[in-house]
Symmetry: C2
Subunit: 192 residues, 2 copies
């Protein structure tokens, strides 16, 4: 079995959401599993001097249009969330508080759908717990152990050079953006 | 005849260079011509607060790798230029000093090849004139009229919302990045 693919993303990233609907099938076509690794884009922005797209002149307006058009291009449901972006600390903690990979995976997709399809503000801890409850899950978002684990995961992502969402690492090769999925596909067949 | 595609780029932009090798064929497949419109990324950065990729922590290192990998992905010759980036004011002026579209087009490709294949610093006015001379062209990069025309073109690009390179506008729809060429291709068949 080949090494799994690392899939880094922020739960409030539109391109991360689009990627999340495609990454498992992409990996499976090449006999790979995916490590889902939510991180906090805000922490990455501190390293790069970046800012949330909507706050950037010109680029912000373009991005809103590109989110919608890219979703249509890929045939993925997308409803522009409001407010946007939101803090995803609580969602991240909920994810990392679970030990089981399948539960984490299910919860992650539920957060993305809640935010980008059902317009539920997953920046609110109460909504994070609500989404989890609907899946029969009871994540911990309060304990110091979970806070520490989440911080360690985010720091590990930054240490790996993760600066955006989605950010995919295949056997050490980094790819930024859902628009790199064709390069990833070719790389999985054979590095070029 | 349908309206031409507007192709905005900076002569020192690697993704602009990659796009430049593909845009005419893409447009021709859909019965379109291309208006090549060099601009100055530095002016756009003033509007967006952006910065040249190499200067950005994490993203800069990634970009260098992605330039090379994307060139290999598309099968386009690419030699990382040094210094990078450079001011492309002189190259822009040379371009806009020509009246003939075919001459402009030929000169633009020659600048891109000089910089990204032959490692000639096109930030140097002497090299700009040298590249033009090899094509039998004698652009003007000094007159006030050409300086004014160039500034007007760059300002018009900013007014259109152009903030990056390449930036393509098809019938009013903006696309940023060579990684949007598949969306452009579909859009040219039918807006979606």
């Amino acid at each position: 079995m080949k090494a799994p693919i690392d899939f880094y993303f922020d739960f409030s990233s539109p391109y991360g959401y689009l990627a999340s609907t495609k990454i498992d099938a992409l990996a499976a076509r090449h006999g790979r599993k995916v490590n889902w690794r939510p991180m906090l884009l805000g922490a990455a922005f501190k390293a790069t001097g970046g800012a949330p797209l909507p706050s950037i002149p010109l680029k912000g307006e373009y991005s809103k249009r590109d989110f919608l058009r890219s979703a249509r291009f890929y045939g993925i449901p997308y409803h522009p969330p409001e407010p946007f972006p939101v803090s995803t600390v609580a969602a991240c903690r909920a994810f990392y508080s679970l030990a089981d990979g399948a539960e984490r995976r299910k919860l992650a997709s539920a957060f993305f759908n809640a935010y980008f399809v059902d317009n539920l503000n997953i920046g609110e801890p109460a909504n994070v717990l609500k989404v989890a409850r609907e899946l029969g899950l009871q994540p911990d978002i309060e304990s110091q152990a979970v806070k520490d684990r989440t911080r360690a995961e985010v720091e590990a992502a930054l240490a790996k050079g993760v600066f955006g969402s989605p950010y995919i690492i295949v056997d050490g090769e980094p790819f930024w953006g859902v628009d790199r999925f064709e390069q990833i596909e070719r790389w999985l067949r054979e590095p070029f």
